[in-house]
Symmetry: C2
Subunit: 436 residues, 2 copies
């Protein structure tokens, strides 16, 4: 259990600094940088070739071509961000959920722009959680968010999931267990990625969405609400099938669900715009935190992004992106079928979107930095994210035989080669599971 009080402070660093050091992602990135010849199926980066150069060019010309608009964009903005963009995002969100009528009273005041959705997640934590507090996380979950929680001295507690996402009964049981232990007051939020979760690529079943909201409400008390943080980062990266209404749409009053969304995956991480829709009571405190942290995200980028939407440059870009990722996903699934399915115990789901394939390998194999496979995979020329990084520190046992594979960055050929290399590494490890 993480407990802020027992972490020593020394060498002139804060407790937070001690809690934040050595995030697994840093180690992986160093490995990738040190050996650029490796095929990385690890990074959740987006495909370099599909980045929206022309769209940004057109938007930049429009914003900078009008001196008055340009000066407005180059000046300070506000903590919450550019109102026109917030309004546009809200309307898009309500339209995607097919519910503009019922939410007519929802205004742009409820929308906050941030430096990617990571910043929104961080700000939400700063605003509602104190060290030692808990977040219940659909397990496995986004490992960068686990690092954020650790850095803040918070406890991440895993809740079981299946092919339909977080299991409402398991969520209810987790709350009951902590209530029985007298810890309910430390649970402040439930974190779920509702579309194409990272790493599992599972979409929370529509039939479970109401239940998740209801459970959070039922265990909330006026003086200590339990929020549901709905991370929708991958919602627009759908390559098959129809979209489904957000978890937020099951919370029409909007007092329970916090939405975290980003343009980093669907447009450009270098422009770095994320945003959230929040309960009214959290807006002012969250903006206060943002004021202290960075005084508002870059206004110029917000004007640029608004222009992208206004000129209709966004939708065609996302369509092209989907076409590209659909092919890459297919390449990864085909390669897995060819090189991994012969391996006994290898297993994966066929996702309809997202950037990941979540692979189970034989139970005898430890995919983590303590096992042999990771070294052997690098030896064969491929890098992956060990599944154990994606599990909260409490609540559930951590399986050691999971792997996160990303198909975002590599070409279809690179993906095939990477999977083939992984297959070789797994076979070598099955033949000799102890030494490398």
């Amino acid at each position: 259990m993480l407990n802020a009080k027992i972490v020593p402070t020394n060498e002139g660093l804060s407790r937070r600094a001690h809690q934040s050091c050595g995030q697994p992602i840093s180690r992986l990135m160093r490995a990738a940088l040190a050996r650029p010849e490796l095929i990385s199926l690890a990074a959740g980066f987006v495909d370099q070739q599909t980045l929206p150069v022309e769209a940004v060019q057109q938007a930049a010309e429009a914003v900078l071509g009008d001196a008055r608009a340009a000066r407005a964009a180059l000046q300070y903005g506000t903590n919450a961000g550019h109102p026109a963009l917030r309004e546009a995002l809200l309307q898009r969100f309500l339209e995607a959920d097919g519910q503009p009528e019922s939410e007519r009273d929802l205004s742009l005041d409820r929308v906050v722009l941030t430096a990617g959705s990571n910043q929104l997640l961080h700000l939400v934590c700063e605003t509602i959680l104190d060290p030692g507090d808990m977040v219940l996380c659909a397990s496995p979950t986004y490992f960068v968010f686990l690092g954020t929680l650790k850095g803040l001295g918070l406890r991440a507690v895993g809740v079981a999931t299946d092919e339909e996402g977080i299991i409402p009964e398991a969520l209810d049981e987790a709350l009951e267990r902590h209530a029985a232990a007298g810890e309910l007051h430390r649970i402040k939020a439930i974190y779920v990625t509702t579309y194409f979760d990272n790493p599992s690529n599972i979409t929370l079943a529509p039939s479970r969405r109401q239940a998740v909201v209801d459970i959070a409400r039922r265990w909330s008390r006026r003086e200590r609400p339990i929020y549901v943080i709905e991370d929708t980062a991958y919602r627009e990266l759908r390559y098959e099938g129809p979209d489904t209404p957000s978890l937020r749409s099951f919370d029409p009053e909007g007092k329970t669900v916090i939405v975290a969304q980003t343009f980093s995956k669907s447009f450009s991480p270098g422009i770095r715009i994320g945003w959230g829709i929040l309960p009214e009571s959290l807006i002012a405190p969250l903006c206060d935190q943002k004021g202290n942290i960075d005084f508002g995200s870059p206004n110029f980028n917000q004007h640029l992004m608004f222009n992208v939407l206004q000129q209709g440059l966004y939708e065609p870009h996302v369509r092209r992106l989907r076409d590209s990722y659909r092919i890459k996903l297919r390449a990864m699934l085909d390669a897995a079928e060819q090189h991994l399915s012969p391996l006994p115990g290898a297993q994966w789901l066929e996702p309809q979107g997202g950037l990941y394939v979540w692979l189970r390998v034989p139970e005898t194999i430890d995919t983590g930095p303590g096992g042999c496979l990771l070294e052997r995979a690098m030896d064969e020329g491929v890098l992956y994210v060990p599944g154990e990084y994606c599990y909260p520190g409490e609540g559930l046992l951590v399986p050691k035989n999971m792997i996160r594979l990303s198909f975002g960055v590599q070409t279809p050929e690179g993906i095939s080669q990477g999977i083939e290399a992984l297959g070789r590494a797994i076979r070598r490890t099955m033949a000799d599971p102890r030494s490398s």
Copy 2:
């Protein structure tokens, strides 16, 4: 005294959220927004007319015109930021200090890019300070930073200044006093704005710079170093006289001084690029904090800014900016001479740069929100920053008769009218200091 432990947590908000609410700047901004007809001499914003539209246009064309460079800019960056920009900033900094030789071993690894220098200040606090720790601040000081400290549950302790900036003997005494009280281990940093301080517009005398570094070193222990945070936000806004070497140049080993610098004042706050030069031991922990907070600042903006520097677009812009602000400063000083100097007790220094005039009014007048002048000034059509916001909560008595006036935003005519209105409000308050 601020103490994190006694602040209650309720309504589902964190301790930090409670500590951060109601920053004075928010109240002032609301007043300004609610009454747009007021001449604001309050905001430290930059002049709208001088924002670098053409320079950003040219840089955007260059970055986006080359598809390969454009894609690199639109992709994720790193927590520390774009290496080319960091290298360019380091070289500029060393050249300005006239010391490239002695610092030849200083590399871009020591430079971190942030969302404005506010984010750097915030990250430094997160990295080295725990709740209840202290920062000694040249008093008066940057009130936004005081808000940051308060939000983090930190103690800001004022140290006396005069026309030459922070007084080394007063700094030494403050350390001695806290050492005698058994609190030395809670002092982690000294904060000074070394050029054209906000609000006092005082530049720390070159003859005092070594002493400040030496005092910090003398009171440091290996296990608890005392850093000097040198805020150089206004260094480039010099309208008269020669530049002077940084405080950092008196710390050639670079283990004591942390530099915080920004392009928000000298180029564009909407592009939002700040940066720091840090002791080696703080780089990794600070980047870990940044990773948790926003995963790196927008890469696109960093490529843009590098291009601005590389194309030689920055220097001509800063020259134009200086010409514009020199006229505005003159307008404010002339108006003060005309409308304020007849008032007994009114007093100000004539600065050589920056964005502020720091005005002392007769002692009978309370310039704060609890006094009559603020309301009357608004009544007469002008808004200012009450001086009391700029004083740390501990260490020194807070004078109630100080005013921060900014000449950045208004035209010379607006400045004149604003000062004239302020003169009227002061005269009305002197005639009737109690009721409004």
